[in-house]
């Protein structure tokens, strides 16, 4: 093999550039194919699958005299299928069948009663399928093998979503199995336009990643971009969709997530119908969708299932809660220490009275309580379920009540911190709520230095950051800025379904019309 001298000289650059590195090594790597000798094939497989005790090699004879080996991975392949269908039909029911033509094709077409059977010649493909749960049939004197779809491992049953609960709406959630998840989505959208494109990511994990979109609704540019970014990933393993999320993010340094994840098939279906793209990752119930806008963190699937008055009210409430959880402690500090004249005199006096014995300035008081709250909250998540609730209630009561009576913090501060913490839970998206949780501390510090001006400064800084974000080419703050009056009906409120005549404009939709009949025509 000839390697040009300049490529050897450029070795330093090659080490940096992954794409080129791949090209470089592929020259050395020979693709290995099956040979006619069964012994040799088995040897190669055993060498590659060295010390993999979960791989089983079952030797037997087809029709009493043709030697064959079935290779499968224990636990991944469905043993009942292997026993009753593969082995039984090959060993016992093959005598009376007349085998004509190529043996492999004959076995495939006449003997094996399986939906999914494929011919292969590449060793690498064979190894991958064995490790994914398929069975491989190697036959003597054949340079082809058969992949038989016997994937059947234990997986969790479909349950109710645990992080996105609703009062009204479907109760099913994704599970860890990709096939089940795709089926759940297909059950919602039975159109041939719903496309699933498969990619494999991860050098070791070889995780299946499926890009789902509705052809004709999703912007082809965005689909292409998603695919391009996923294909560019070269990582040892993908264990959860967040790996992918961070690797294909437009704004890796931003505190705000620009890719949404959900464990609800109905949410994914709704997003796809708006022209977005979803990405399924095998092994996790959390499905990504993109491009994702800031406003969609304020939307819960339930908004669309309840009557629009209550949904709109709740959505406005959420925006209020967002402001409370971001600004309330900061505003409290700013008003009490810089602008006390804003408060009514009676309230001011009462606040001053409460603060009388407190030894710390308001900033320290807030930070102390906020951190304690965050610790309690995190402990509540991590503690074993049986003790979790008890400990967090006791912790909250003891710390809240005792801290006040010990005179370390003022009662008003406890109210503020508790309200802030609760308001944070109102946001339906946990990851966006997390960003707000962190930014709250920035606001508190700015407020304690510069009063309301500091709060405003912090707010404008955050808004400037949000306005500068783009996710797959779509401005993150749309449809608020750039404004699209038509789309406001699904931002601050949830407009009735009969007003949602067109899809959101910001995805550059090919097909704008959502419904045909206007309500008044009825």
């Amino acid at each position: 093999m000839f390697i040009p001298i300049w490529e050897i000289l450029m070795l330093g650059k090659i080490c940096v550039d992954g794409e080129m590195m791949k090209n470089f090594w592929s020259r050395f790597k020979k693709k290995t194919y099956l040979s006619f000798s069964l012994e040799e094939n088995l040897q190669i497989m055993r060498r590659i699958l060295f010390n993999c005790m979960d791989v089983v090699y079952r030797e037997f004879y087809i029709d009493r005299y043709i030697r064959a080996v079935l290779v499968y991975a224990e636990g991944l392949a469905d043993k009942a299928l292997i026993n009753s269908d593969i082995l039984k039909s090959l060993m016992l029911q093959s005598q009376d069948k007349k085998l004509t033509g190529s043996l492999v094709d004959a076995v495939k077409t006449i003997i094996l009663p399986f939906a999914e059977v494929k011919n292969v010649t590449e060793i690498e493909k064979i190894i991958n399928s064995v490790l994914s749960g398929d069975s491989i049939l190697l036959i003597e004197n054949c340079d082809q093998a058969l992949i038989i779809g016997t994937r059947g491992w234990e997986h969790r049953a479909i349950t109710e979503p645990s992080t996105e609960t609703v009062i009204r709406g479907p109760r099913e959630a994704y599970v860890e199995s990709l096939q089940v998840n795709l089926a759940l989505l297909r059950r919602k959208i039975k159109s041939s336009e719903l496309k699933f494109e498969k990619l494999i990511v991860g050098r070791y994990t070889k995780t299946d990643v499926v890009i789902a979109y509705i052809n004709g609704l999703a912007d082809p540019e965005i689909v292409k971009e998603v695919k391009r970014r996923i294909q560019k990933i070269d990582i040892d393993g993908i264990l959860e969709s967040n790996y992918l999320e961070e690797l294909i993010d437009d704004n890796p340094y931003s505190i705000f997530p620009t890719i949404k994840h959900t464990e609800r098939p109905d949410t994914t279906a709704g997003l796809l119908l708006e022209g977005r793209v979803a990405v399924f990752v095998d092994g996790t119930p959390f499905v990504l969708s993109m491009p994702n806008l800031f406003t969609s963190y304020m939307q819960s699937p339930e908004d669309y299932y309840e009557r629009y008055y209550i949904s709109s009210f709740i959505r406005l409430l959420r925006f209020m809660a967002l402001n409370i959880s971001l600004l309330l402690p900061a505003a409290y500090i700013a008003v009490t220490t810089f602008h006390p004249e804003m408060l009514p005199t009676v309230l001011l006096l009462s606040l001053a009275g409460q603060r009388e014995g407190v030894p710390f300035p308001a900033l320290i008081e807030v930070l102390l309580m906020e951190i304690i709250f965050e610790i309690l909250r995190e402990a509540g998540v991590r503690l074993p379920k049986a003790v979790g609730q008890t400990v967090s209630i006791v912790g909250a009561l003891v710390i809240g009540e005792a801290a006040v009576s010990a005179g370390i913090v003022s009662p008003a501060m406890v109210i503020i911190v508790a309200l802030t913490g609760i308001a944070n839970f109102v946001m339906p998206a946990y990851n966006a709520a997390g960003a707000v949780r962190l930014l709250r501390f920035l606001m508190i510090i700015l407020a304690s230095v510069l009063g309301l001006f500091g709060v405003m400064f912090g707010l404008m800084l955050v808004q400037g950051h949000l306005a500068s974000l783009r996710t797959f080419g779509v401005p993150y703050l749309s449809p608020i800025a750039p404004i699209s009056i038509e789309d406001q009906k699904d931002v601050w409120i949830r407009g009735p379904w009969w007003t949602m005549q067109i899809r959101p404009r910001f995805f550059n939709n090919l097909n704008q019309k959502r419904q045909k009949v206007k309500r008044k025509d009825k």
């Binding site: 602008h339 009063g451 309301l452 703050l477 608020i480 750039p482």
Partner: protein, 365 residues
């Protein structure tokens, strides 16, 4: 390669213009106008808005002749290399200078709310914020303006609605008591504000749909005029001409008179916050024009490196330009109006248009 790759919509242009004008106009102008025209300030504000239309028309005529160029570029096309460069440099200087005035105004304004903090802190922070916006490009500046625009309009309307019962009609009398003289004199400061439409001549080339230029700009002038009229009308109606003239920030004082249900008293600090937002957007617009213009004059391929140096220069100018608010007010009332109005907002554009017509330059229909 173009310096600015962003494109904005007509709506964004309107919003940016209004926020740029109204942010400081509503805060400072009623007092300035009332100092000249007394109780007839509201008449001055109407005439000023009408004059504003003509200034916008001037900018639009130039834009329609040179749709792909901004004022600094077409002054070079019209006047030739060196005179054009000098005129362009004049405009860049004008943007920097006016921005220094605005920065100082807002610094002074904030110092009344938080008297213990040195004003330089506010000025530096506001300019840094605007530099951050400018760094992110024109589209981001416009999105910020869009975000605050509804709040901004709403709060002027809310103030007006809440003080409407305080208006004493006899304060408007006598109408035109001193004749038209003071009224005409009171026009100049607000016209200067409306003349800030010259900043839009830096932004018009980035309009996505060129046919919307006239409509969005005129709509901007109209809405800004209405807001400004409301502000001056109601400050006069509540405080009267004399008092308004002597107040530094009359609309702010107007907000202080508000009391809702004995609970929300003195919401001025909240309003201050919104005005800060408006001020930041205004400063951002000027900062953007200054940065873009300077980069074009210096033939740079990217404007990002000069954002921070210009920000520092502007803060320095704002800090050292005037000893105190009194001097600043005198400067705004008596010096800057003729200087900016006659030279950069009206005079030079008019001259450019006339020369372009005579030399038959640009697109003619």
């Amino acid at each position: 390669m173009p310096l600015e790759k962003g494109k904005i919509s007509g709506k964004q242009l309107t919003v940016l213009y209004i926020t740029t004008i109204v942010a400081s106009a509503v805060v400072f102008l009623p007092g300035v106008v009332a100092a000249k025209a007394q109780q007839d300030a509201w008449i001055s504000s109407i005439i000023a808005a009408i004059t504003g239309f003509f200034l916008a028309l001037l900018v639009l005529r130039l834009h329609s002749r040179f749709p792909e160029q901004n004022v600094i570029q077409y002054s070079r096309t019209i006047l030739g290399k060196w005179p054009g460069l000098i005129t362009g440099a004049g405009f860049a200087w004008f943007f920097i200078h006016i921005n220094a005035v605005i920065i100082r105004e807002f610094g002074a304004f904030l110092a009344t709310v938080l008297p213990e903090t040195p004003p330089v802190v506010f000025m530096a922070l506001i300019v840094l914020l605007s530099a951050y916006y400018v760094r992110n490009g024109l589209e981001v500046c416009c999105r910020i303006a869009e975000f605050y625009f509804p709040i901004f309009v709403l709060q002027v309307v809310v103030i007006v609605l809440l003080v409407v019962k305080e208006v004493r009609w006899q304060l408007f009398e006598p109408i035109l008591g001193a004749g038209w003289g003071p009224v005409i004199e009171g026009i100049f400061p607000p016209v200067m504000w409306f003349g800030e439409v010259i900043t839009m001549s830096m932004i018009l080339p980035y309009l996505h749909d060129k046919s919307q230029a006239a409509r969005s700009l005129f709509l901007g002038v109209l809405l800004a005029g209405i807001l400004f009229f409301l502000a001056s009308f109601f400050t006069i109606g509540v405080f009267g001409g004399d008092l308004t003239a002597n107040l530094n920030f009359p609309v702010f004082e107007l907000a202080r008179t508000i009391s809702i249900a004995q609970f929300l008293e003195r919401v001025d600090a909240v309003l201050m916050s919104f005005w800060v937002a408006g001020g930041v957007i205004k400063i951002t617009t000027f900062n953007y024009c200054a940065v873009l213009g300077t980069a074009q004059l210096l033939n740079l391929s990217d404007y990002k490196p000069i954002i921070l140096p210009l920000a520092v220069i502007q803060v320095f100018m704002a800090l050292t330009g005037w000893e105190n608010v009194g001097q600043l007010k005198y400067f705004i009332n008596d010096i800057i109006a003729p200087y900016s109005l006659i030279l950069f907002e009206g005079g030079i554009p008019l001259m450019l248009l006339v020369i372009a017509r005579i030399r038959r330059l640009g697109v003619t229909k």
